[in-house]
Assembly symmetry: C2
Homo-oligomer: 889 residues x 2
């Protein structure tokens, strides 16, 4: 925008705003830096022109014209058409042809080109300028009537479809009819006469459908096509794409009008696409394919098999040598791997496009590290070249991307990777089959903490309900296990051993495959590609860490997870959830005994039997994390989560606990909650039953003291969940301090520790100044903060969130990426108030957002000390934190 | 505090801070304005002394000494004891007696006295100064050994109990033993010898229990009593009382040391209490009672029946005349009804206390209006004299306060008033019995919208679950019907037709009585006092309105409620909940048909049959509210609320709808939500099913247009619930505008209307600037805002809120009175951001807080335009709004 603004502000005459930029004849008015104004395509065409690379000349109508168009009821800015006309004249001069001329007609393409590539989302018109007159000139110039009418036919179809809105199928129908009449199969078998007839038939169709004749005037065609490209910015497809990719709707698109060159003028012509390095592996070799006597769309359509680019060396040695020179020049110039489109017209090479090439994660890492070593880019750039989110591909198994899949259902992609296995419906069954080395996928309505064993035993998890932070999603990500949740397409009939999706019945034991990156569910046993971490990856992470300022901690509940996280580079545990430990088979009966207790004494007795088990849990984790802080959250879920669900389980519990079934039923009625997420949990439990938190704190400090005596460096941090009022923290902290002091005194050791709180209740954020005075640290629980801040139950949001995203009401799932304007504002308020009251306050985030790159950047910007995420997200968070620091300057 | 601070800041010597204030001999160092420093009692004793009213002389240790005591580990401020000694000397001089003197001993009382009265909460010691020596002087002076030993015995017991912590019962036990020995029944029958023996026995008891002798030194007694009074400020009773009454814990108490006078010196002595007007009716006549030859505690104890004050005219005409002169003087001086305590010692009258008298609501209103008419106070003062909350007594039936009750259970007092009726467990049964003119009380685990008919038919409602904004509570208040919720004491066995409380079984058909002001549940049929609104009440409300600046609107869903509200003075409807209309017997099948619809077309068809019914609903309300704005909230609850619950109901619905039971079961599974409060409701429904909101908007505008045509002045305001993101408002508003425009055009009328939104999601408050741009008005839904801001489910909060209040973690139930620091801050942020973006924004509140006086004051302070509350709360809100405006100045 800078350029345009400069032009505008340097002139007092409104008419002097420049909307159109010419390129051609070795010089261009724009360059690569003007991407925001000219779009990616336009600015690169200008840049290439200036570099002396052969590009068909043309001009770009900038994005400001488009935004003006939308701001002014689809009116063009004043003077735009004059500028177009002027540039058209220039183009005629450079090309030595005339628009609409019978002798030597100038044909152009009209293409969209936004700031960032939106492949296939917007519209394109080729061969514009043809009509019943100019086609004669094309015949003359090409010497081929067939070629000319083929071009004319294609133009009519494209213009009719894209600009005039006649159904593509109606044209295809006429084409098919013609081939049937001629008893031929391929388009190429159609004669010039057939094609000429088709042009007439197409025009008749257009007249019928649009109640207007086909516009023969090339200038009218051009004007209408510009209109259509502008309008295509806001077609439904494009809006959805932008919503999915976080592209602002107000950017608008540029329009590129460019002289046509033809790759289908005979055996000396051709077209192709190429990458300057291998986009799959990153190997430093020229990679691509081409077709002789073909147009771009033929390469894409796949009706003919293109040749590998190396063959061009034999077919057209001179052209190939020039292409090699150009690709090297472009890569050196843009200092990144390029994706090229080229056309050869009568042995003359034209570059139609260059852009930064898309690549796999593996290729991205290799190219970045290689280019640094080649001296092409520095370490800083290398780190910025890999998108953090991409790393997921390196950390999890993937479905072979070459295999086409037919999903039978689609849910939310809650945990990345892929899984293949036999369908099972219960956690027990999953464990049972896994013991026999069978691969299974656990399919549930939703999961609960008692399913953890079965989830661990499964290859992947599929649930019908729940959102991006539902139990299955959180646990799945924690285990690095592929998980698809909220899959409303399926109806689960666990008892009868099947699920139904779109009328299809899938039974227990049937194979299914899950894609955790897309949320797709496929029938059968698809091939998996196992992940591997290369030394290039490790190099890149070392570089990233050298730039990063934000700490990266982990959410881990077991020694195993802690080990995985530490190996991935975790610098501490930001969230150790103690409730998961309560579900162990040796603990659940004790936990239930504690819940059944009718007085404090009995409760304390049950808790005292849990104490040694909890102590053992913590020792295991402290050992693995030796030297690093371990933040342990005291019990958080409501007690009813630990009770049985089915009649059978109730009977079993009654037998085990030696109480009547009625007593358990009464207890369940008493503990039942209408909105458990807003119920008796978190520190509310620690306040009504201080003995529970006291036991946990005792276990933490006994474990820490014992290990400290054995020479371990233990740094425990006690975290109180769900604080909304400072008094809740004061109350629970008092108990924790009492126990901690007593234990440390008993063991006679020196131990540094902190007592802090989650900030996950909106009220806590609003009153963070009061709370900070009592806390050693804050840790944002952005899952709950999002739930309560939005009023979205993470378990139920699946019922409306998809349509919210589709309708553009929300840009992104706020459970996946922090909602910066709302929830982020609450976080910011809390940071400001908290640090205002206590400047030394340590602040982190342990919600699932801790592993989302956009959220990591936000956390860095507002000055958090660390983010904490699930183990498999740590490399992503490290890289995202490096990006955030580098982007800042 | 001002006085003390002034003294302190005017002196550089720390020792010169004054802690003790003398009164007596016709002059006092303090006065009535020094209430904060000297407490209510102390400042009034000083004031009366200065007025020349006979008050036993003494001195007051101020509240700053008490706060110093608590801030400094229970140490007295330096110099305090010197000041006490100095004042004691002064007292001796004035009284002509000496503390600890055998000849003419000075006896004193030591009493607490905080800024506000906390009756019976703190401790008192009388007759202090007695020991085995001084008792002899008392015998001499009184001429009665019996009197002297009785005083001594009482002192030992009081001091032993209050100061030394020996159980009251242990003393009573010795007293009873003595009477048994002597074979007598009354204390008065004990001889001097008996009493002397008792003194010795009491002292032995004290020595045994405290392992220390009884302190014979009067100065030690005094010092220990001051300690005890200071300490009593923080006894459990007092803390609870302060929590319940919103009295800050940091205020502290003053201590009054005052010369004893005795009403039990013979037939020329006596004691009594009196009110300057009738505290029950407010009638302007001297009211009170007295006893001859008695001490204050005898009047209170009720062992002897006191005489009406008028009889004193005969008994002691001179004293009576003086008393009448004094009471008139005091009332004229304090310009309010006074509550007096007096003692007559040997025909000499002493006033022991004067304070503003507590009174019933009826009396408060009458006294305020009368005093204005008498010219004693102005209208402004009259309005301030009635506490808004008190008005509840005038608006609802009450249990006779004279009848002692024995509650069998206690819940939350959710809706004031009282109810008496037979227990029923289902809404149907309630309706059925009400039709037969039987009075019933509906007892449920919790209520849901389909119970509304039964609730309306009942005298009162009792639920085992739920908080102050649960369904039963909200509906109960709306109907002005007594309601007790969250009564955890009871276990409901609806099917078997009984509930159990503390082991007691109460069956269907048994009578119970509810007190909605206390939450108490009593067995049996208690007497009710019906409310009546006097012309004084109406006068006071007119005065209140003349000061009030805040609008008072109502929450009403029916023409009947609207009428009640308008009669109570509502200036508009701030919340008309449309879902209640959906539960009508003629509508529910249509609503269910709409929910069952599998496509939009079928849904629209069902909705179109609902349309005329909704239109009729709105017409009814618009008619009643003619000329006033009516804010209609579009559908808010999740659709599953409209589905059946029991198998029987499911079967019935299946039959009615002609679908399989399985289909209904599937639908229920699909619609089930784990946390419905955070689920698919509010505008989320209006976004996934725009046709629902469109039907409702159509009904609103068709109703409005039809009535406008008939000459009614209709002002509809459409309110979108549960908006958290501006895009939600944009989406739903677009649909609403479309329909409104179309309908208005069709009817060809002029109609002013507004489209606004609830602010009830924390994120909405945080992003109120964005939302304001799209809204004509904001209405704070502080119920939901409190739920989400605190993370408290209103339905489940009963499990821990009581202990939160008890432990002092929360001062008040945030659903009953707005939490100013947290939720209030969110409201403030929203008001500032909203008005910042749109200065003309109309802002109200329609949560249940709209009828809570403290919340009304808050709403006024932050600049809201109106509060909206249930009809029976309107007078309270009007008066509270007047108070808020008057308090501001």
């Amino acid at each position: 925008m800078q350029t345009a603004t400069a032009v505008r502000s340097s002139s007092k005459n409104k008419r002097s705003i420049k909307y159109v930029y010419f390129f051609g004849g070795g010089r261009a008015e724009g360059d690569a830096k003007m991407k925001n104004l000219l779009g990616g395509k336009g600015s690169n065409l200008a840049e290439m022109t200036n570099m002396g690379i052969p590009v068909p000349p043309g001009f770009t109508i900038n994005t400001e014209a488009c935004t003006h168009f939308y701001k002014n009821k689809k009116q063009y800015p004043a003077g735009l058409l004059d500028e177009v006309e002027k540039n058209l004249k220039k183009l005629e001069t450079v090309m030595g042809k005339k628009f609409g001329d019978v002798q030597s007609p100038l044909l152009v393409s009209v293409r969209s080109g936004a700031r960032v590539s939106m492949p296939g989302m917007m519209d394109t018109v080729l061969n514009l300028g043809l009509n019943d007159n100019t086609v004669k000139g094309l015949i003359m110039r090409s010497g081929s009537e067939r070629f000319a009418y083929d071009a004319y036919r294609r133009f009519c179809q494209m213009f009719g479809d894209v600009v005039l809105g006649v159904e593509h199928e109606d044209f295809e129908h006429l084409l098919a009819k013609k081939k049937k009449q001629r008893k031929i199969k391929l388009d190429t078998e159609l004669s010039a006469k057939d094609l000429k007839e088709l042009v007439a038939e197409y025009k008749a169709l257009i007249r019928k459908k649009t109640r207007a004749p086909f516009p023969e005037d090339p200038r009218k065609q051009l004007r209408m096509s510009i209109d259509a490209v502008f309008s295509s910015w806001n077609n439904k497809r494009a809006i959805t794409y932008r919503n999915l990719n976080g592209i602002p709707h107000e950017w608008g698109t540029a329009v590129n009008v460019q002289a046509m060159v033809f790759g289908n003028l005979g055996e000396d012509s051709g077209t192709g696409v190429a990458f300057t390095r291998d986009p799959a592996t990153g190997a430093n070799k020229f990679y691509g394919e081409y077709l002789i006597n073909a147009q771009g769309e033929d390469v894409v359509a796949g009706t003919r098999t293109p040749h590998p680019i190396a063959d061009l060396r034999k077919d057209m040695p001179v052209v190939y040598a020039e292409l090699v020179k150009i690709y090297k020049k472009l890569e050196a110039h843009y200092r990144d791997m390029q994706d090229l489109e080229f056309t050869i017209e009568d042995k003359k090479l034209y570059l139609l496009q260059t852009r930064t090439g898309k690549r796999t994660a593996q290729a991205a890492v290799k190219i970045a590290v290689d280019m640094e070593r080649e001296g092409l880019i520095n370490k800083r750039e290398a780190v910025l070249r890999v998108e953090p989110e991409q790393l997921d591909q390196l950390l999890h198994p993937m479905l072979d991307p070459k295999v086409k899949v037919s999903p039978i259902a689609k849910g939310l992609p809650a945990s990345p990777g892929a899984a293949v296995g036999k369908v099972v419906f219960t956690a027990d069954k999953a464990e049972h089959m896994a013991e026999k080395n069978e691969k299974v996928v656990l399919v549930r309505l939703e999961t609960s903490p008692e399913d953890i064993g079965g989830m661990a035993a499964s290859q992947g998890i599929l649930t019908a309900r729940g959102g991006m932070t539902s139990h299955a999603a959180v646990v799945g990500r924690g285990m690095g296990k592929c998980c698809v949740v909220g899959c409303g397409d399926i109806t689960v009939h666990s008892k009868d051993g099947y699920f139904v999706t779109k009328g299809k019945k899938v039974k227990e034991g049937d194979y299914i495959s899950l894609n955790g990156n897309t949320g797709e569910v496929m029938l059968g046993e698809l091939d998996l590609i196992e992940p591997k971490l290369t030394s290039d990856f490790r190099t890149l992470m070392v570089w990233a860490d050298s730039f990063r300022k934000l700490g990266v901690w982990t959410n881990a509940d077991t020694p195993h997870d802690s080990k995985v996280a530490r190996d991935f580079g975790a610098e501490g545990i930001g969230l150790c959830r103690t409730e998961h430990m309560f579900f162990g088979k040796d603990r659940l009966p004790l936990v239930r005994e504690m819940i059944l207790a009718e007085d404090t004494k009995t409760r304390i007795k049950a808790l005292s039997r849990l104490l040694p088990l909890q102590r053992k849990d913590f020792k295991g984790i402290f050992r693995v994390m030796c030297g690093l802080p371990v933040t342990i959250r005291l019990l958080d879920p409501p007690l009813h989560e630990f009770l049985p669900h089915t009649d059978k389980e109730i009977a079993e519990m009654a037998r085990q606990m030696k109480v009547s079934k009625q007593k358990i039923a009464d207890l369940m009625q008493n503990l039942h909650e209408i909105n458990p997420m807003l119920g008796h949990r978190g520190c509310r439990l620690g306040i009504t039953y201080p003995e529970i938190y006291r036991m946990q704190v005792r276990a933490i400090f006994e474990a820490a003291c014992e290990l400290t005596k054995s020479g371990y460096d233990v740094i425990p941090e006690v975290m109180i969940p769900l604080v909304g009022h400072v008094n809740e923290l004061i109350f629970t902290k008092r108990h924790a301090l009492e126990v901690a002091t007593e234990v440390i005194k008993k063991y006679k050791v020196k131990l540094k520790y902190n007592i802090g709180t989650m900030i996950e209740i909106p009220r806590a954020a609003i009153t963070a100044d009061e709370i900070a005075k009592e806390a050693d640290f804050f840790s944002f629980g952005t899952n709950d903060l999002t739930q309560m801040g939005f009023g979205f139950s993470r378990d139920d949001v699946g019922k409306f969130l998809p349509s919210y995203i589709e309708d553009g009401i929300l840009e992104k799932d706020p459970f996946a990426s922090i909602d910066i304007k709302g929830i982020g504002e609450l976080v910011k308020i809390a940071v400001e108030k908290g640090r205002g009251a206590k400047p030394s306050l340590k602040i982190g985030i342990c919600g699932e957002h801790g592993g989302d790159p956009a959220s990591v950047e936000f956390c860095y910007k507002i000055g958090l000390n660390y983010v904490s995420c699930s183990p498999y997200r740590i490399p992503i968070a490290r890289l995202a934190a490096a990006h955030a620091a580098l982007k800042e300057g």
